[in-house]
């Protein structure tokens, strides 16, 4: 490991960082709308994005800096079981092909900005909508914090950030600057900023992966050697391997399935989806988004390369940045670090916007100020997006990194519990709102308690996300077990509540709303004036 600051890499990193900062502020003028003071504009980019912008935005949103650091890190320390990210992202697309276009249609028709908006409209229940909103905000916060962890990993390897005994202010200054800049342009440009920056981010990421996957194996003597030395390491360590052992297969499958189900429950995924211009944009995107899965697979293999290259780090998160620093010439290492750093900014911006929208629409407007005007909504959302980021920053600076990771793990389990209300609601009104609320509560409690009880060699609680599935005896993903419990409770209680004729609440949607597309009668007129015109070309 080199000591001191890597000047060339740092210079390249700063160059790219400045470039995206300028873009972030200029983004406010990109496809400028007539009616800026509406949440549709600031929080959903005017619902005007076409296929390519949506592709970059969703890709930039879902494949975060943390993903780039954590997936190869898992491979580096565990081997095969870390590869579940690939089947996970394979399964996401058939899923969203099925339900997201319906959500898009009904949201467009009724002006919904968040998933909780839909849940409230469908089930006529502010309580259920509040549960979905709070879950969304809770699950998103640690996710934003983890983006900071991604930036920190890069800064550490570049030699910025200092050692353990540096003054905390000097140590955290680069991170503070990065986040101040991010917060400022998100505030002024809204969703347009990450949408524009996503182009740079993904361009850099694809470039770095393409170079890494060809250049590094050549330097290391080919994949045969890489996997041989990985096998060697796992055998010596007595843990991990090149293929999952039989006992690990349930865990692998349930983790892939559970994560795939959870991904599009996250508010930031929905925000990026609703910003697209038509129903067709979403379906078309499910056929081109898998390009990212392919990239993720190649990226995961870098974990093995780090082993073969003799990278030795205690903190697995540093494995990939360190691999880049060791293998690439300084200037290209700078490009790679910039890719990871910017890769943190895009999702952090979208996540904070999504969390802010949830707060504004489903807590502020529903409970605190029902007569808020669109301009007031936008103002509150902008302020909350700042607060959310400051909260995430405080979280990372004051607490141990593992706390953020633990909460992120819990967040995945929690967010999955909103699926019956959301996806169930998209297809049927049969579920009873109180049953959904009870199912959600059971899933949340079971999931949290089960995760609390998982110990690992380094932690007494929250040591992992897998545990024995009750009644099955296999080890599986806690989130999925909690989800199954949730669904069972919901179904049983729905039978009971329907039998006793409990009030079902008013459904403000009609069946045709779920298949409506832009241009259909009744869809365009309902849009705010700013978006009713033809969206600009791109």
């Amino acid at each position: 490991m080199k000591d001191g600051v890597n000047g060339v890499a740092l210079g390249v990193f700063i160059f790219f960082f400045l470039a995206v900062t300028v873009m972030g502020f200029l983004a406010a003028r990109w496809r400028k709308a007539e009616n800026e003071a509406s949440l549709d504009e600031w929080g959903l980019g005017g619902r005007s994005f076409g296929t390519w912008v949506t592709w970059f935005l969703l890709g930039g949103d879902l494949y975060t800096a943390y993903t780039f650091v954590a997936v190869p890190a898992a491979i580096y320390s565990l081997g095969a079981s870390g590869f579940f990210a690939v089947p996970y992202t394979i399964l996401v697309y058939p899923l969203i092909f099925t339900f997201l276009p319906r959500l898009w249609s009904v949201s467009h028709k009724h002006g919904y900005v968040t998933t909780s908006d839909f849940v409230r409209g469908r089930f006529g229940s502010k309580g259920l909508s509040l549960a979905v909103a709070v879950t969304g905000i809770l699950a998103t916060m640690p996710y934003i914090a983890l983006q900071l962890v991604g930036i920190q990993a890069v800064l550490d390897v570049m030699g910025v950030g200092g050692g353990e005994n540096t003054n905390w202010f000097v140590k955290d200054l680069p991170l503070l600057i990065a986040f101040a800049v991010l917060a400022a342009y998100t505030y002024s440009s809204g969703l347009r900023a990450p949408a524009l920056i996503a182009f740079v981010k993904d361009g850099l990421i694809y470039l770095v992966i393409a170079v890494a996957i060809i250049y590094i194996p050549i330097k290391l003597g080919g994949f045969d050697d890489i996997f041989a030395s990985a096998q060697d390491k796992f055998t010596k360590a007595g843990a991990g391997g090149l293929a999952p052992a039989e006992t690990g297969q349930w865990g692998y499958a349930t983790l892939a399935l559970g994560s795939a189900l959870a991904l599009f429950m996250y508010p930031h995924s929905i925000t990026a989806t609703l910003s697209s211009r038509s129903r067709d944009v979403i379906r078309r995107n499910t056929t081109i988004l898998p390009l990212y899965s392919l990239m993720l697979g190649l990226l995961a293999l870098l974990g093995f390369m780090a082993i073969a290259a003799g990278v030795k780090v205690d903190n697995g998160q540093l494995a990939i940045p360190q691999l880049f620093e060791n293998m690439f010439p300084d200037w290209f290492a700078g490009v790679a670090f910039a890719a990871i750093g910017i890769g943190a900014l895009v999702p952090a911006a979208i996540m904070s916007i999504a969390a802010a929208n949830l707060f504004t629409r489903n807590i502020y407007k529903d409970f605190l100020k029902p007569d808020a005007t669109p301009a007031q909504e936008t103002k509150v959302s902008k302020l909350v997006s700042l607060l959310v980021k400051v909260g995430a920053l405080a979280f990372v600076l004051t607490m141990d990194k593992t706390v953020a990771i633990n909460f992120q793990l819990l967040g995945g389990i929690w967010i999955l519990q909103t699926m019956p209300a959301l996806v169930g609601g998209l297809f049927t009104r049969w579920f009873h709102r109180w049953a959904l609320l009870a199912g959600w509560a059971v899933g949340m409690i079971y999931g949290t308690a089960a995760a609390y009880g998982v110990a690992s060699p380094t932690q007494k609680h929250f040591g992992g996300s897998s545990k024995e599935i009750p009644g099955l005896g296999e080890i599986g993903y806690i989130g999925l077990t909690a989800f199954v419990l949730n669904v069972v409770v919901t179904v049983v209680l729905t039978f009971v509540l329907n039998a006793v004729k409990a009030p079902a609440g008013i459904d403000e949607t009609s069946p045709g709303d779920y298949t409506a597309d832009a241009g259909d009668p009744g869809v365009q007129e309902k849009l705010p004036p700013a978006t009713a015109g033809a969206p600009g070309g791109h």
């Binding site: 394979i90 058939p94 293929a243």
Partner: protein
């Protein structure tokens, strides 16, 4: 279709069954972990476990694309039928 006097096409049609199969296939393949949890045969040095799943990225993309095209045709046919 002859059973529908109002000219409303049936909900389940052969095309839609094919669409459903295209969307379900990746789940069967990926969740059946024991079918691919092995090292051999390798491909340019990469163990089977890894290249097989990467291959499925491509297969599932192709399947989703087929589903998308079939769905578009299905929708067009229905809209055309409704306006006629």
């Amino acid at each position: 279709m002859p059973e529908e006097p109002e000219g409303k096409p049936p909900t389940v049609t052969p095309v839609r069954v094919v669409i459903a199969l295209c969307l379900i296939a990746p789940f069967v393949a990926m969740l059946w972990v024991s079918s691919y949890a092995k090292v051999d045969p390798t491909f340019i040095g990469i163990p089977f476990f890894y290249w097989y799943q990467m291959l499925w990225v491509l297969i599932s993309t192709a399947l989703t694309m087929i589903a998308y095209k079939l769905w578009q045709r299905d929708q067009r046919a229905r809209k055309g039928g409704a306006s006629a």
